[in-house]
């Protein structure tokens, strides 16, 4: 279905018959196929809040990769916007839990990071170990998303056993990332929704399930700050440490703390 809330990209291209047969891997076709994929995708994700999920799923549809996710970086506090599926969600949480990984490097340096399996193990050993053990992915490509001059985000592409980093063309990833930035910004311009908690106008895609889930970590961080009388960065470090030593991800630790199934005292050590 066409997204009812997003402007049409022009009738002529959408109405043209027999397009698929002529599709080749050049720039115009990647762009066209990517647009088709995210504007015509699943009805279940047609709401503005799930735009990042649609965009991530469209990446998997048009690029030779097995997973994708979008995230924003605000200092060290990373917010996932949406992912193509549960495994890509896990991969994001692992990067956040370990505080390292290709996405962080891409967002910090503003450059695309291509990480093959052996490079992941070498450059980010803690993340690499978990990545190999807990996801079906083996390699990753992270492309910075320049939403504004000072807001850093990244598109993570995850490659499985059968995928090859060499099959993912630089031209295609840069077109896709430009499309993503444009889609997010245009959606922000036309679907700014009021955050009911603060009454501020914010883009709807900032409040998808993935981003809301991460709020649990900020709550747990506040609880620990009070309990241990430490600053935010220290509280986050302790959450990370507990997650790492208990083979959990940081969002799981946070959820257990806020639900009360895990005592703050346990995290203190």
């Amino acid at each position: 279905m066409r997204l009812p809330w997003f402007p049409s990209f022009g009738r002529r291209r959408e109405d043209t018959q027999g397009v698929e047969s002529r599709v080749e891997n050049d720039a115009a076709d990647i762009e066209y196929r990517f647009r088709q994929a995210w504007t015509q995708g699943d009805r279940a994700t047609a709401v503005p809040e799930l735009l990042p999920v649609r965009l991530a799923q469209a990446c998997v549809a048009v690029l030779p990769v097995s997973g994708a996710g979008l995230s924003l970086l605000n200092d060290d506090f990373r917010v996932p916007l949406g992912a193509s599926g549960p495994a890509a969600d896990v991969a994001e949480r692992l990067q956040f839990t370990q505080g390292e990984g290709p996405c962080l490097d891409a967002a910090r340096t503003g450059r695309t990071v291509v990480a093959r399996a052996e490079q992941i193990r070498r450059r980010w050993p803690a993340f690499g170990e978990q990545f190999a053990a807990r996801t079906p992915f083996r390699a990753a490509i992270s492309i910075p998303l320049p939403l504004t001059s000072d807001l850093r985000g990244a598109l993570d592409l995850y490659l499985g056993e059968g995928d090859s980093v060499d099959a993912v063309s630089v031209a295609a990833t840069s077109i896709v990332s430009e499309e993503i930035v444009q889609a997010l910004l245009v959606a922000q311009a036309i679907t700014g929704s009021v955050n009911p908690r603060t009454e501020e106008v914010e883009p709807a895609w900032l409040h998808g399930p993935s981003a809301q889930h991460r709020t649990g970590v900020w709550i747990a961080m506040g609880m620990l700050m009070t309990q241990l009388q430490v600053p935010a960065a220290d509280a986050l470090a302790r959450l990370r440490g507990y997650a790492y030593s208990h083979d959990m991800d940081i969002d799981q630790v946070a959820a257990a703390l806020t639900r009360g199934t895990l005592s703050l005292d346990n995290v203190e050590a």
Binding site: G10, R12, R22, E31, T148, E178, Q188, I190, G222
Partner: protein, 257 residues
């Protein structure tokens, strides 16, 4: 003029369809994909506007000049980008008389207006003769730049010193261009406001942190902690965001203030 004559004879409605079948889809897609990308990678609003007008003159048959009009909050019109000197003067006359294709495209139900000769067009009895007297303009075509849900309204205007310069083919090219232009403008607008996005991220985190601090301090639930923030916001007439940031920074909530 010869080129125009040819255009007029070959580009009518049915021929447009014919063209579409003959022209490989990829060519058209590549052309507009390239255009869309050029518009979307402009670093800011002024260069986006300039790229749109430049592309309009290059791609729309018969267009000698192009300009973009934006409406301000008070309903005033402003020419914010143009190629050459002619558009500014023509637009000035449109705004002053409240008539003309640009003004109508922003005001009327139809989103595109085309005229073969402004002077003899019965729709604009004041603007037309005045524009012909004071400038060299003869043909015009204006298209509203508008995205559903977006409050900002603008128009893309094309001008020619020749009569009947704009064909049906010109019109459909403008139609396509206007869509890309509206998207590019919305994007540039959002990019300009994105300090705001940074703030939203930080304040969402502050609220979470503050809720956690209050939960641990007062042994309350998440909802109760949030209610405390809201109460403090109401009592102090300060934004909830600001209260939350204070709590996250200081570790305490001053409810009585």
């Amino acid at each position: 003029l010869i080129k125009q004559g040819l255009d007029r004879s070959t580009n009518r409605g049915p021929h447009d369809l014919h063209d579409r079948r003959l022209m490989p889809f990829k060519g058209a897609a590549a052309e507009f994909a390239g255009l869309a990308r050029e518009l979307s990678v402009q670093p800011d609003l002024p260069s986006t506007l300039a790229a749109i007008t430049r592309n309009a003159v290059e791609t729309v048959q018969g267009a000698e000049f192009a300009a973009i009009t934006l409406t301000s909050k008070g309903g005033h019109y402003r020419t914010v980008a143009e190629t050459g000197d002619l558009p500014r003067e023509v637009d000035r006359i449109q705004y002053a008389t409240g008539e003309g294709p640009c003004v109508d495209s922003l005001r009327e139900q139809a989103h595109v207006f085309r005229t073969d000769d402004v002077k003899t067009d019965p729709r604009w009895p004041v603007f037309g003769p005045l524009a012909r007297e004071r400038t060299d303009v003869v043909s015009m075509m204006s298209h509203r730049l508008y995205l559903e849900g977006d409050d900002n309204l603008g128009a893309l205007n094309l001008y020619s010193r020749e009569p009947a310069a704009f064909t049906d083919h010109s019109l459909s090219t403008l139609d396509m261009l206007a869509t890309h232009a509206a998207i590019a403008l919305a994007k540039a607008g959002a990019q300009a406001e994105n300090q705001h996005l940074q703030t939203a991220l930080a304040s969402n985190r502050s609220i979470g942190t503050a809720v956690g601090i209050l939960m641990a301090t007062y042994k309350v639930t998440q909802d109760q902690a949030f209610d405390l923030l809201r109460m403090a916001s109401q009592h102090s007439h300060r934004k909830l965001n600001d209260i939350a940031r204070d709590v996250a920074d200081t570790g305490t909530l001053d409810i009585g203030r």
